[in-house]
């Protein structure tokens, strides 16, 4: 449905997005995930048609919507796409119903049809009681629902979201995640969702593009990101808790503990928290750490300690000794090894 071919966007001399290619089928939920400044919002704006790519092609289905090489670009409204802004961008001088109806008026829908659509989406999002209120009079979570309703009322084939949940508190965020998925399922449209929150990516996406410095580090299904991270960046960015990346030097953990399994490699070894155990006494592949924190989670404990200046997290069934010191035991084999550039070796 959406396919990108070598999309690049430059501002002056620097590339905000470099050479990005991917495609997702119709009805999928694509999350663009990455830290701030990684180019994900620029990607979204290009998909929306608010920015134009410097080079590369972008297709929605069979329609070429933008071609940076020829300068061709379909205006936003002709792309059959809707966008929910991070700030919601509700028009403050229109009521809730007015906000939802305006795009339909612009699209010249007959009055009856407009009324029916407005009612339908308001019911879908449970905001029909707010119809005559103004955006300034309703809460942040309600504004979010109105923005969502306004976006889906014209029934776009592509739904775009720019960090829509970042202005909400934690409880509302969980509730809205579910709401968004419901809307996605009900409309069957293809969604592209920008976020820096890997939990949102893991819970909502069918496809995730992890972005860093304007490039795609990995394009995969959420579970594949966890199971087979393509780079050290991905390994350290996804997962709750994220996997430990332990520096290795010439086949030695931390450059000090030799281990034949590391095969003389240098770089980082990925060790998941559930592979590390809290050891009672000294032994092979154990090391000392200073206790940093213990987080109770689902009946178990995430124990974090600091060794050689690195935070190491393990999953444990019992609370660590309160002495301030503890001992971790490494597994017999790391889950993955990355070289100094962060590229996966094994």
């Amino acid at each position: 449905m959406i396919s990108l071919e070598n999309i690049t966007k430059s501002f002056g001399n620097s590339n905000a997005v470099s050479n990005v290619s991917f495609s997702v089928p119709e009805g999928s939920f694509l999350v663009l995930l990455g830290p701030s400044g990684c180019g994900k919002s620029t990607m979204l704006r290009m998909l929306a048609g608010l920015d134009q790519p410097t080079s590369g092609k972008m297709q929605f289905g069979d329609t070429l919507v933008a071609d940076g090489n020829t300068g061709h670009s379909l205006p936003p409204a002709d792309r059959n796409a809707g966008l929910v802004f991070q700030s919601y961008a509700l028009w403050p001088h229109m009521t809730v119903a007015g906000n939802i109806e305006w795009p339909l008026k612009v699209a010249k829908l007959p009055t009856e049809e407009r009324r029916a659509r407005v009612l339908e989406v308001m019911e879908m999002l449970g905001i029909e009681k707010l119809a005559n209120r103004y955006p300034g009079e309703i809460s942040g979570g309600q504004q979010q629902r109105v923005a969502l309703a306004r976006m889906i009322a014209p029934r776009p084939k592509v739904m775009l979201f720019d960090e829509p949940l970042s202005n909400l508190d934690a409880t509302l965020r969980v509730e809205m995640r579910f709401e968004l998925l419901k809307v996605h399922a009900a409309t069957g449209a293809t969604a592209v969702y920008v976020t820096h929150d890997q939990v949102e990516a893991m819970t909502m996406a069918t496809h995730v593009a992890v972005m860093n410095n304007g490039r795609i580090e990995q394009f995969d299904a959420p579970d594949r990101l966890l199971a087979e991270p393509a780079s050290a960046f991905v390994a350290g960015f996804v997962g709750t808790p994220a996997a430990n990346l332990i520096p290795i030097e010439n086949g030695k953990w931390f450059g000090t503990m030799p281990d034949p399994l590391l095969r003389d490699q240098s770089g980082h070894a990925m060790v998941r928290a559930e592979q590390i155990t809290v050891a009672d006494e000294d032994g092979p592949r154990t090391f000392e750490a200073v206790l940093a924190e213990v987080v109770p989670m689902a009946g178990r404990f995430l124990v974090t300690g600091i060794a050689h200046g690195i935070r190491i997290t393990a999953v444990s069934d019992q609370v660590a000794r309160p002495s301030g010191k503890l001992r971790f035991r490494l597994p017999s084999a790391p889950a993955a090894i990355f070289d100094k550039q962060g590229t996966r070796i094994s």
Binding site: L50, L83, F85, S87, G136, G140
Partner: protein
């Protein structure tokens, strides 16, 4: 309260400060206003009949009122158009040099309106009322009366003065609609025109109304422009009529006119307010996506850039240059020849300018200069101290009724035309009150009136300062155990100093450029610069008037420049 202010807090009891401020405001603001009302009704209310319903009323009230309304509406419309146009260019388009245009567009308000009026005269004056023609007549054009004097020049000059107000307000509103709100509309496929009329205009309408009503209130109460450009051809407005009545001793009639002028100004500001409060609050939520998007002007870029710069230069630099030339040229017909410094430093010569010496030989000028500077500085200081105290009282002590009274009274002078306010001061303090001597004709009265008039602005500055003192920042310092004075010195003052200093300077500029209040209250023995310039001009000594005006302008520009520097640097380093 006690813990917050330490020793000072315990010295004042819980309501002391609010009570003291309420008293001060009653003396400074409420009492004079009450007095003019009483004096026009008691012992006799004949003045009301004279003004409103007698053979004289056509000339006393109705014609000046019609003129005043035409000026007010014309200026409001012109300011919204001009200020709105520049605001649109600066906020929403890719016009080159936007920061420079934005800066230039805020300057005209700092140039006293009598300076712009005098500059108009140097170009468009014709010989009809004596004193020689202006530049255009010198070039051989016959300048018609309507362009030289009266309504048209008054409106144009006042637009050139007040459009900055509309610009500032509208630009701020446009900045909030720009970005996501417009992009959300673009996503729907709405045309540019539809976005403009469906989204942008409705969202900035409150700002347009606010900008327009501020310009209206300013224009109807302005004295300098109609006095310099209208009086020579007997065009009267309420403010010039009011001045005339008091000057010839018909004070009751003057007071009635003052009340009516306040009424007209208040009705329109009230209407504006009403339209605003009927609307929803248009606060929009910020997000990182809300960065301004500028749309490309394309082929219109060059002409629009030219237009913007022409407006800015015509209303700022050009009037100043014209005044400079006109203060040097012996003949107002040829501004750029035979320049002489006589009008500045020449000694008395019977063959030249009827024996009038240059302004720096005029003993009145030097005394006017010192009086103006001292008065400006002391009023700025007094107003800002009271402003801070009021701000403290309003934020720290919530006393029912009294707090509300303080807040309302401190903003009342904003709605009061300066000349009407001055008339009220004459009414109350012109005669002895009990053991207190009459203050009329003393500098103290002038200082009191100016202080009261500057209060609204000073309270704003004070509130900004106090919000620094009372916020998290101060609490963070309190947690360390630092005492009140230590915090004042180490946290509050360093943070607030620049803003306070800038506030002081702006008040100072407003005081030295004021003519509406000073023209009624100055002391004949030591007038102020603005009054001196006005009396030179009304005696036909234009070169001298221009020279004195330039002195005021130079002081104003230095102070404004310093204030801008203080504010600008502060913004960079703290946000």
């Amino acid at each position: 309260m006690t813990t917050l202010l330490g020793p000072i807090g315990s010295a004042l009891n819980k309501r002391g400060l609010t009570l003291a401020m309420a008293l001060a405001l009653v003396v400074l603001v409420a009492a004079p206003l009450a007095t003019i009302l009483v004096q026009t009704l008691y012992p006799s209310s004949a003045a009301w009949g004279d003004v409103l319903a007698s053979r004289l009323s056509q000339n006393l009230f109705w014609r000046p009122t019609i003129n005043t309304m035409i000026i007010g509406l014309g200026v409001a419309a012109g300011c919204v158009l001009l200020g709105g146009f520049l605001a649109w260019l600066v906020v929403m388009t890719d016009i080159p040099g936007r920061p420079a245009i934005a800066f230039m567009a805020t300057l005209p308000f700092m140039i006293p309106s009598f300076a712009t009026a005098l500059a108009w005269g140097t170009v468009f004056r014709n010989g009809r009322v004596g004193g020689g023609g202006g530049l255009l007549e010198g070039l051989g054009f016959a300048v018609p009366d309507w362009l030289s004097w009266g309504m048209t020049p008054t409106i144009v000059v006042l637009i050139a003065h007040y459009y900055s107000l509309a610009f500032t307000v509208i630009a701020a509103a446009l900045a909030t609609v720009n970005g996501d709100l417009v992009e959300a509309a673009q996503m729907t496929g709405a045309s540019r025109k539809r976005i403009l009329f469906g989204i942008v205009l409705p969202v900035v309408t409150p700002a347009i109304i606010a900008g327009g009503s501020l310009a209206f209130a300013g224009a109807v109460s302005n004295f300098a422009a109609p006095a310099l450009l209208g009086l020579p051809v007997r065009m009267q407005t309420l403010s010039t009529r009011l001045f005339g009545m008091i000057e010839i001793g018909q004070t009751e009639r003057g007071y009635v006119l003052a009340i009516l002028l306040i009424g007209i100004s208040a009705i329109f500001l009230g209407l504006g307010n009403r339209m605003l409060s009927g609307r929803r609050s248009f606060a929009t939520i910020g997000g990182k996506g809300a960065k301004p998007r500028c749309f490309a002007l394309g082929g219109a870029r060059l002409p629009l850039t030219m237009a913007a710069w022409v407006i800015c230069i015509l209303t700022t630099i050009l009037p100043i240059l014209l005044l400079v030339a006109a203060s040097l040229a012996p003949s107002s017909l040829s501004l750029f020849s035979d320049w002489t410094l006589h009008y500045w430093i020449g000694s008395s010569d019977p063959a030249f300018a009827r024996g009038q010496p240059g302004i720096f030989h005029n003993p009145l000028l030097l005394s006017a200069l010192t009086t103006t500077l001292i008065l400006g500085a002391s009023v700025a200081l007094a107003a800002n101290i009271i402003g801070i105290l009021i701000a403290v009282a309003l934020t720290r002590q919530k006393v029912p009724v009294l707090s509300n009274l303080v807040s309302q009274l401190s903003f009342l002078p904003m709605l009061l035309p300066g000349i009407a306010f001055a008339a009220a001061y004459i009414a109350l303090y012109g005669a002895p009150i009990g053991p207190l001597p009459a203050l009329y004709g003393t500098k103290l009265l002038l200082a009191l009136a100016l202080t009261a008039a500057m209060l609204p602005f000073a309270v704003q500055t004070g509130r900004a300062t106090v919000s620094q003192i009372s916020g998290d920042i101060d609490e963070a310092a309190r947690m360390t155990g630092a005492g009140f004075f230590r915090r004042l010195g180490a946290i509050t003052l360093p943070l607030a100093a620049r803003g306070l200093a800038a506030g002081l300077l702006i008040t100072f500029v407003n005081v030295i450029g004021d003519l509406a209040i000073t023209i009624l209250l100055y002391t004949p023995t030591s007038p102020l610069l603005a009054v001196l310039s006005y009396s030179y001009a009304s005696d036909g000594f234009h070169q001298f008037a221009n020279a004195v005006t330039l002195v005021i302008l130079i002081i104003s520009m230095l102070a404004t420049g310093a204030a801008t520097l203080l504010r600008g640097r502060r913004r960079q380093s703290f946000t």
